[in-house]
Amino acid sequence: MPTDGPTPLERFINGILPENPVYRQLLGMCPVLAVTSSMKNAMTMAGAVAFVLICANIIVSLIRNRLQPHLRILVFTLTIATFVTIADRVLAAFMYSTSKELGPYIPLIIVNCLIICRCEVCASKQGVTTATFDAVGQSLGFAIGLATMASMRELLANGSWFGIEMFWLEGTASEKYRWALMGLPPGAFFSLGILLGAVNWITSLKKKKCSPQLEG
């Protein structure tokens, strides 16, 4: 079947870095700011988003030829809401304490723009294979975004990573080196600003290297 638009592999690679949902598209900022105070919560969120995104992309791609254009957003939301509810219930059943810590942020995946954006941009226009690769790539990109934020915040705020104390903080003096602010909302904004700046800086350096004639 001839398809217009990017191939599955292109979609997959684009999602990870060139079109990273967090650092390039700035989508899904609510979980990025809210659940990145610890690595465990961030990765649970990344897993839940990946599940919802992959399932929603597959379903939307399967029914894309029967979609009425003016009803498409309704169908996207319906699909996403179903999988979010499933993810929420599964977490409450098998990861009860994490589910309690994440609180309303799991149900709020419904309004994560990343998912509806992928349904609109890719799944409603391209085949199942492309849509699946796209979803996996974007999910990985989102997970990388959350992981960088969460690593920075958890290390600075608690001196731990995935709940494991870092060796240089062991002992009684550890309290001194904890920057509690990084675990609080202001810390989320600081981290996001610094990381976004860093990503933009690296991208601009790369551009300069590739095309020096465009400089200035």
């Binding site: 979609l67 009803l71 675990g183």
Partner: protein, 230 residues
């Protein structure tokens, strides 16, 4: 009409399909989720009733079967508790009483609820068998300010244990170590979160007072038959 059907059939079919799928998920997972919620309360009961007697006990040492909790450490049984649950209706709301019996000692655990600084706080309060002393307080749900008010979840709430239950507790700022050890009804406020400390203490006071009145009136005698229905 025909036009509506033509345009909307996919939405209707999807909604029905998704609805059925969700119902299936709910049927399969709801018992597990309810058990999780029950266990969350039950896991706290030994700590609330037995206090320091179960220091160093982890969840792994605890075995919850039905309404019985057994705690064993290194092959020895530390505690063997039986729990009876009863819902008590008050004038404007209701709360749950867990009557704990067994060895090494029994007691009561009651649920307490009220407004905190940010949102509702839900807590469990442990009392001794005669409801004369508070044996522990555990916060189940709270959305207080992280880093300040949410300290009520941590070791701070240990100062409630050993406090008298026959007079309302009072929150005081900057208490000395001796005053805190005296356990004469004063609670040391969390610095930076006086409102939260006040709120939790008020919630505990209210719940304890209500429970003591109900205990006197004999409302707490768990009725086995009504118990089975729940």
């Amino acid at each position: 009409m025909k036009n509506y059907v033509k345009q909307g059939w996919l939405v209707v079919i999807l909604a029905l399909g998704f609805g059925a799928a969700l119902a299936g998920v709910n049927v399969a997972l709801n018992p597990i989720i309810e058990q999780n919620q029950k266990n969350e309360t039950y896991e706290q009961i030994p700590v609330l009733v037995l206090g320091t007697l179960v220091d160093g006990i982890t969840k792994k040492d605890m075995k919850i079967v039905g309404n019985a909790i057994t705690i064993s450490k290194a092959g020895e049984t530390v505690a063997d508790l039986k729990i009876r649950r009863k819902l008590i209706e008050t004038a404007d709301s209701e709360y749950t009483v867990y009557c704990v019996t067994g060895s090494p000692r029994g007691g009561w655990v009651i649920t307490a609820e009220g407004m905190g600084f940010a949102d509702k706080i839900k807590a469990l309060v442990g009392l001794d068998t005669e409801a004369k002393k508070i044996t522990g307080v555990y916060v189940l749900e709270q959305k207080e300010t992280p880093g300040l008010g949410n300290k009520i979840v941590g070791p701070w709430s240990r100062q409630y244990s050993g406090q008298p239950a026959d007079k309302p507790l009072k929150v005081e700022k900057r208490m000395s170590k001796e005053d805190m050890d005296a356990k004469d009804g004063a609670i040391d406020a969390i610095s930076g979160a006086t409102i939260t400390s006040d709120a939790l203490t008020t919630i505990v006071n209210g719940a304890v007072e209500q429970f003591r009145a109900d205990l006197k009136a004999g409302k707490t005698n768990a009725n086995e038959k009504s118990e089975e229905k729940k």
